[in-house]
């Protein structure tokens, strides 16, 4: 037999439960991801300046399903022994991990290109960075609107 007092305690506990579930979503998620993005960027470029241009990042502007998004990067370069692209990196701002792919290439590649398919967790800006043989860094960004996130649990911001 449940007494009135016990019932009230249980009712109060059940009302309090949803609040604890909400509290599990990290309120600093957006800030943490931004910090992770900048940490990943620094790891790639170090203290060097990243200039806009030379790189062309192509992504569809609107995506229904973030699980498979066609992405292509093209870098303007003669790809000779003296002047070529050494690496291409792709970073995201709001994925659980900022890194997407890193490519190492050289004059034997002929053209500095990369085409692949990526997962995107949220509507965000994707960044491509190219490292040249002279040590300079060039970048391009693309805004993408994602209607269905790739990782729903982590994508709720």
């Amino acid at each position: 037999m449940t007494t009135r007092r016990e019932f009230l305690v249980l009712a109060a506990a059940s009302l309090a439960a949803p609040a604890t579930v909400e509290a599990q979503i990290d309120p600093n998620l957006a800030a943490n991801r931004k910090a992770a993005f900048h940490a990943a960027l620094r790891k790639i470029v170090g203290d060097a300046q990243v200039q806009r241009g030379k790189v062309k990042l192509q992504l569809p502007p609107l995506i229904d399903n973030g699980n498979s998004v066609p992405l292509s990067v093209t870098v303007e370069s003669p790809m000779t022994e003296a002047d070529h692209v050494k690496a291409i990196h792709v970073l995201t701002e709001k994925n659980p991990l900022p890194d997407v792919v890193s490519v190492a290439l050289g004059p034997r590649a002929g053209r500095a290109t990369l085409a692949t398919r990526v997962r995107l967790a949220d509507t965000q800006t994707v960044t491509a960075i190219a490292q040249m043989s002279d040590g300079s860094f060039w970048s391009d960004g693309a805004e993408v609107v994602v209607t269905l996130s790739a990782c729903l649990e982590e994508g709720l911001i």
């Binding site: 991990l97 792919v101 490519v103 034997r108 590649a109 002929g110 398919r117 997962r119 990782c151 649990e153």
Partner: protein
């Protein structure tokens, strides 16, 4: 089951830039998903893709969980000499696949 498909032109002119497409069969489990009981599904992805042309590395990609399942990688290389292009995928849980494609250069 580990399978991969590569598309390489059978022949090319010397110095020509040839397009290569590769596709590996892999679920690319991110390590961020959970089962219905809330357990985290461990990460299982392809970490590295390398393409070597007659033993010389021409293209290498380090993949992250943000690469979609069945990773497609398309790139180019210069047809320098006849020989073989070797493609190698390596990943978590000892996943390795090697695919070889011949190319004839005139």
């Amino acid at each position: 089951m580990a399978r991969a498909v590569v598309t390489v032109p059978a022949q090319a002119k010397r110095g020509e830039i040839v397009e290569i497409k590769t596709l590996a069969q892999h679920a690319m489990e991110t390590g961020f998903r959970r089962t219905q009981t809330g357990d985290l599904i461990p990460r299982d992805i392809i970490r590295r893709f390398t393409c070597t042309y007659n033993g010389v590395e021409v293209y290498r990609a380090d993949l992250q969980p943000a690469i979609a399942a069945n990773p497609l990688i398309a790139f180019t290389t210069v047809a320098t000499e006849s020989g073989t292009l070797s493609f190698h995928w390596a990943g978590d849980n000892g996943y390795t696949v090697t695919e070889i494609a011949p190319i004839r250069v005139e």
